[in-house]
Symmetry: C2
Subunit: 160 residues, 2 copies
């Protein structure tokens, strides 16, 4: 199966894909153990806590999380059951609704954050020197930008 990826790049690809998977698994496990939150829960809490009014439209939240609409509906209603967010109809667009961070949600985030960030440090960041950090930021920033752009363009018009 030696096709179209030189061996240097293939090694990079394999190292990346394996380590990413392991890292994600480990972070989820730590988060669950320390705070009883999933990675998605945590991410929702962070995004809402940073948003003006600590609230976001469902669609906006979905696109930032890279979640499908229906997945987000499920995610938010689960967090609603657990008291971390509430949902309010959107004032200017009666189709829409917004997810709002509750006091309990903010509390949960404040409790979880130190552990989670420590976990990110131990499993990833403490291993990296400054040049490597810069490299990751540059590489993944660029790739994220390109993917974000290609995805927003692709639905609208056909390939031709």
């Amino acid at each position: 199966m030696t096709e179209s990826l030189d061996s240097t790049r293939e090694a990079a690809w394999r190292a990346y894909i394996e380590a990413s998977q392991r890292l994600y698994t480990q972070l989820e496990e730590d988060l669950r153990a320390e705070s009883n939150l999933s990675f998605a829960d945590y991410h929702v809490l962070v995004l809402l806590s940073e948003a003006p009014g600590q609230r976001l439209r469902m669609g906006e939240l979905a696109s930032r999380l890279i979640f499908s609409p229906s997945r987000l509906t499920y995610q938010i209603s689960s967090m609603q059951r657990r008291g971390m967010v509430s949902k309010e109809p959107c004032p200017d667009d009666r189709r829409g609704s917004e997810a709002v961070l509750t006091a309990a949600g903010l509390l949960a985030l404040r409790d979880a954050a130190p552990h989670h960030l420590a976990s990110v440090r131990t499993h990833l960041m403490d291993d990296l020197d400054d040049a490597e950090v810069a490299c990751l930021t540059r590489v993944f920033g660029r790739i994220g930008d390109r993917l974000r752009a290609s995805r927003s363009g692709s639905t609208t018009h056909a390939t031709s």
Copy 2:
């Protein structure tokens, strides 16, 4: 929420986590569109194709895929239904079984590989210069090693 991760590293972490998620989503989508395979299907096919006798013990396969045992059972039985693998009892250990690549499975891999690798190139590798490739290999190789090691150790003995 400024705790325990300096802003440079926080930026790296955010860029990484977003781009990784987007990349994974994009690759899955491409793979499914071109070959009607999931990322997991493809990965199983690669591992089996490279294994001696094109066969692997369930446990071995699970640990390489970073899958839980039950998830692998499901994954393999799904691929079995689609004719890509078969399952045989393990000769030396009557508890065990091995997954074996079928001719159709190998065919499916050969069909899918060029498209998939092209997709890895377009969405990731073509953007990287040699220094960046080296950086990724080094960083993720190291992190993967550490996570692999910590995980195998952790079940056996307690923290003390």
